[in-house]
């Protein structure tokens, strides 16, 4: 077993991210991207939403959703670049770009969620 390889961990993140983003992102997008702005549903008050966001559990769930979705993207995009564009020889650069973007995105998510007024 290649213990030093991070591939199993990256795949677990990819896999978990795929499941969670497929289940929850469409719901969130439908609610906050369409249903509430277009008035299909009565929107909750701003204060109420901030209170929900201020709950550590909400923060944790949203953070995990962001992190795993981003790692799902990173893994898939990495292989898209490897095989789709056939530039696997640039793997170090590609890995840095893909997983780096996922890490940066996750840090931004933490920052935003932490700084909810």
């Amino acid at each position: 077993m290649t213990r030093r390889s991070l591939e199993p961990l990256l795949w677990l993140l990819f896999s978990a991210g795929g499941v969670l983003s497929a289940l929850f992102l469409p719901v969130l997008l439908l609610l906050f991207g369409l249903a509430l702005p277009l008035g299909w549903l009565p929107p909750p008050s701003h204060a109420r939403l901030i209170a929900v966001l201020g709950n550590p559990l909400t923060g944790l769930v949203l953070f995990l959703l962001c992190l795993l979705s981003l790692f799902h993207f990173a893994h898939r995009f990495r292989y898209t670049l490897y095989d789709g564009l056939q530039i696997k020889h640039l793997n170090e650069l590609i890995n840095l770009f893909c997983y780096g973007a996922a890490i940066v995105g996750s840090v931004v998510a933490v920052y935003l969620l932490w700084n909810v007024p």
Partner: protein
């Protein structure tokens, strides 16, 4: 329906040609004829120099896999009339070197197949006097689907990852490893895990899924690989987080 159809067949005679070319043959097209019947008609009546592999004519031997109109198919199970009015293009299996006409070099696959130890491994064989290894219907169901593989290599021809990186162990070999891993009589999972969990093993797969679509026996190699990835990833986590003594 037209009673004849044109076959465009790859011809490659390395002693005469630098590159494979196509040659057209007109063959009868009764509704019960498969592509293989067309090729055998060519061989018997039109051009005896055509080389192609076949044996059982009934989807068991796995030797007549070819590319029919761009898709990997068992030519014994692919009806000519489905392609009427034609022409039907018959090429060797993709992703393998061509030896001659429709015959490909399969040494790489044969090596990979043996590499994953597709047989029942026991730490200790019990003596014959103790009788056979018994298995419940549920235990049989756990692996039966994967045991249907006939080694026809259509999944290798369909797999874009194998096409790009011939080091990739490939769908059928991994599915067959799973067939034995999931067999209640087998004790060789650990040995196979070492091989399968390398980068050229399961991690090379990007889950395109074309292997499962191409499989004529509904083996679902893509499913086998994803299931195995989960197992290997959990074993990897256990390796890291569970102290050695507790295993």
């Amino acid at each position: 329906m037209a009673d004849r159809i044109i076959l465009q067949v790859t011809r490659y005679r390395p002693e005469d040609e630098a590159q494979p070319t196509f040659r057209e043959y007109e063959v009868p097209c009764p509704k019960e004829w498969v592509v293989l019947d067309g090729l055998n008609y060519v061989k018997d009546h039109l051009d005896g120099t055509l080389s192609h592999r076949w044996s059982c004519r009934m989807g068991i031997c796995g030797s007549c896999g070819m590319t029919v109109n761009g898709e990997p198919k068992l030519t014994c199970a692919t009806f000519l009339s489905d392609y009427a009015p034609g022409p039907v293009r018959v090429e060797p299996l993709a992703n393998f070197p061509i030896i001659r006409d429709l015959v490909v070099e399969i040494g790489d696959f044969m090596q990979k197949l043996a590499h994953v130890k597709p047989w029942i491994i026991r730490q200790e064989e019990k003596p014959l006097s103790e009788g056979e290894y018994q298995q419940t219907p549920e235990e049989l169901d756990a692996y039966k689907q994967y045991s249907m593989c006939i080694n026809c290599m259509l999944c290798y021809a369909a797999c874009p990852v194998y096409g790009l990186d011939p080091k990739f162990l490939g769908p059928a070999a991994i599915a067959l490893a799973q067939r034995y891993n999931l067999d209640s009589r087998d004790q060789g999972e650990k040995e196979r895990m070492e091989l399968l969990s390398q980068h050229e093993g399961i991690w090379g797969c990007t889950f395109v899924g074309d292997c499962t679509k191409a499989c004529p026996k509904n083996v679902d190699p893509a499913g086998a690989i994803q299931r195995y990835k989960l197992k290997a990833a959990l074993a990897w986590l256990k390796d890291i987080f569970v102290p050695r003594g507790a295993k």
